[in-house]
């Protein structure tokens, strides 16, 4: 789908109107530097973002990049504040341009506006999830986006499934670890887990076959113990009994679930009936209930069991608003990022970002009814 043409004053109007909606909802606007430390983004942004970074070297030897999104800068802003230092609850919002490299022939702009909100801390994650999604949908509706599709997912659901499987098969934990990597990698692992590969395992797979290694070899920054420990762990995995057939088949069916939320919920119950994931399912229902109270009905939202697997730093609830193939807003929960960015305590976080440029191109009347 090609990117519709951009009318700068209209985009600015939409961006401003949405920022005001967020502010009225109690989110404090923050502004963050466009120029960010390169190191931070190299380490914490996913490879998809990393290969799109614009890096800038200064004459003093410093390395920076143009912010590829506003979430990480907003996290850093929060962590530098007294609230962030104490892990206290904070609701922040932002609007500004982000920069991502796209190849010459791509119709996507390399500089694009984002408006979004981040909810840090708090002790009721379900309500926080619902608040953020309701804020996003309500914002889009008030701007005048008449129709868009919603897709939702919950990465926590697979974690719960894998944890339950872990009680009957050692493959559970391994499947959980690999779930967030590439789909090819996961499919390969699932296949390996289902086959009885013990008789065909490779020659180096036995613990006793370990080649001698010593500290005077080139070790590549790892200790001899570290290498041996992983070697043994890997050898052990290769001698595991296969995943029970019904569990393997169940996982395959589970990952294919993609349906309107009420039916998806029913399908999950049917597919996973042999496994206890009741608490995780309850969370899904509680969240839906919270959303209902805020005027958001999930009956038309598509729930997809595999949605969000490769979306960078997300850890739980994820959602996206689309028109056709074009995403106009997206968000989710990212509970590990603040710690990775240097926070000493675990701080839960959930947020979303919208694209005023796409909104104004798809809905020419957007923000028209709001005062400038």
């Amino acid at each position: 789908m090609s990117v519709p043409s951009v009318d700068a004053p209209r985009v600015e109007n939409v961006s401003f109107a949405l920022a005001r909606i967020l502010q009225e909802a109690g989110y404090t606007p923050v502004s963050t530097p466009i120029l960010q430390p390169l190191e931070v983004f190299l380490e914490y942004a996913g490879e998809d973002i990393r290969k799109r970074l614009y890096s800038v070297a200064d004459i003093g030897g410093g390395e920076h990049c143009l912010r590829p999104d506003l979430t990480i800068p907003t996290c850093r802003h929060y962590l530098a504040s007294s609230n962030g230092a104490n892990g206290a609850e904070a609701r922040l919002c932002y609007r500004g341009d982000a920069f991502r490299y796209h190849s010459k022939n791509s119709p996507k702009p390399s500089q694009f506006p984002q408006v979004g909100a981040e909810y840090f801390g708090g002790n009721n994650p379900i309500e926080a999830d619902a608040e953020i999604m309701a804020l996003a949908i309500d914002g889009l509706r008030r701007l005048g986006c008449e129709s868009f599709e919603m897709e939702i997912g919950d990465l926590h659901l697979f974690d719960a499934l894998a944890e339950s499987i872990g009680k009957i098969s050692p493959w559970g934990e391994r499947l959980r670890q690999v779930f967030h990597r590439s789909e090819e990698r996961f499919d390969k692992l699932l296949q390996l887990a289902r086959e009885d590969s013990r008789p065909t395992r490779r020659e180096t797979s036995s613990k006793d076959d370990a080649e001698p290694i010593s500290a005077d070899m080139v070790l590549g920054g790892r200790s001899v113990e570290e290498i041996r420990a992983r070697f043994e762990e890997r050898a052990e995995r290769r001698s595991l009994p296969p995943l029970p057939e019904d569990i393997g088949a169940m996982l395959e069916k589970f990952l294919c679930i993609r349906a309107p939320f009420p039916r998806a919920l029913k399908d999950i119950r049917t597919v996973a009936k042999a496994i206890d994931i009741a608490p995780a399912l309850e969370r899904l229902e509680q969240r839906a209930e919270c959303l209902r109270k805020q005027g958001i009905d999930l009956k038309d939202a598509v729930f997809s069991a595999g949605f969000g697997r490769r979306l960078g730093y997300y850890t739980g609830f994820v959602f996206e608003a689309r028109v056709g193939e074009m995403q106009i807003a997206a968000g989710g929960r990212y509970d590990h990022l603040l710690q990775a960015l240097g926070s000493e305590r675990k701080i839960p976080a959930v947020g979303f970002a919208a694209r005023p440029d796409r909104i104004s191109a798809l809905f020419p009347e957007a923000a028209g009814r709001l005062e400038p």
Partner: protein, 256 residues
């Protein structure tokens, strides 16, 4: 480069590597095909093909040939597949590949320390990279002269917890010197990896060889296309390929 542009209306401009083993191999290949290079690198800008005074030969560094073809500053060129793919973002779009030439063969490999007995393939590297980050709080460093290809290969295997460190000189020495943990480099025998205490991951072997390619954006005048016919035909005969098919494909691909 504007000198080239002026030349390109009335002549066919053919880029060949200026030096090194790929230069010697290219020179021998063209001689055997019956279109020997007349003139020498370093002695003036252009040589020409024997019997074709209007087919000008530009001697350029092999990586520069890739860029010049992309920019449309050469009609035809011979370079390594590795350099074409490393230096051009979308070689499939800006170039029309004519043929693999079968010489200057080498493989792009991933080299890890031999001591890593837990590393056999890219899936292992994916696990090790994550483990490394968790234990050492820094990303695994990959030394290479091929950052674009490295990103493509690693990305294709879902490996993302690493950072590339640019390598200017002896890439394979980087792990021993403590400048990187992993290397990605071209090797024809693997001997350099071995002598630096490294081994290759077995599931990555990106094969490179010399390739003959045409620029899609070069000013392909009727005269230039006409000049290309006979030398291409001679090369195709030498490789036992169908020269008419080459020409047909070329005409389809270029912007005249």
């Amino acid at each position: 480069m504007s000198l080239y542009r002026e030349t390109m209306e009335s002549r066919l401009l053919f880029g060949v590597p200026a030096k090194g083993r790929i230069f010697e191999a290219t020179e021998a290949f063209l001689r055997e095909a019956g279109v020997a290079i007349v003139g020498q690198a370093g002695r003036g800008y252009f040589g020409h093909l024997d019997g074709f005074p209007e087919v000008a030969v530009a001697f350029l560094p092999a990586s520069e040939i890739a860029l010049a073809l992309e920019r449309g500053e050469l009609h035809l060129g011979i370079s390594g597949k590795d350099l074409l793919h490393e230096n051009i973002e979308a070689p499939g779009e800006s170039l029309a590949l004519i043929e693999d030439l079968g010489f200057s063969r080498a493989d792009l490999c991933i080299g890890v320390p031999k001591s890593w007995i837990d590393a056999e393939d890219m899936d292992d590297l994916d696990d090790i990279a994550r483990d490394f980050y968790t234990k050492h709080r820094r990303l695994l460093r990959v030394a290479t002269k091929y950052p674009r290809l490295t990103r493509q290969i690693f990305g294709g295997h879902g490996v993302d917890m690493y950072r590339i460190v640019a390598s200017l000189g002896a890439t394979e020495g980087a792990p021993r010197a403590g400048l990187a943990e992993v290397v990605v480099d071209i090797t024809s025998t693997g001997a350099t990896l071995d002598s630096n205490g490294l081994k290759r991951l077995k599931d990555v072997c990106w094969s490179s060889q010399a390739q003959l390619a045409a620029s899609r954006s070069a000013p392909w005048s009727k005269a230039a296309l006409e000049l290309a016919k006979e030398p291409l035909n001679k090369i195709s005969v030498h490789l036992s390929r169908d020269g008419n098919l080459w020409l047909k494909n070329l005409i389809q691909n270029i912007k005249t």
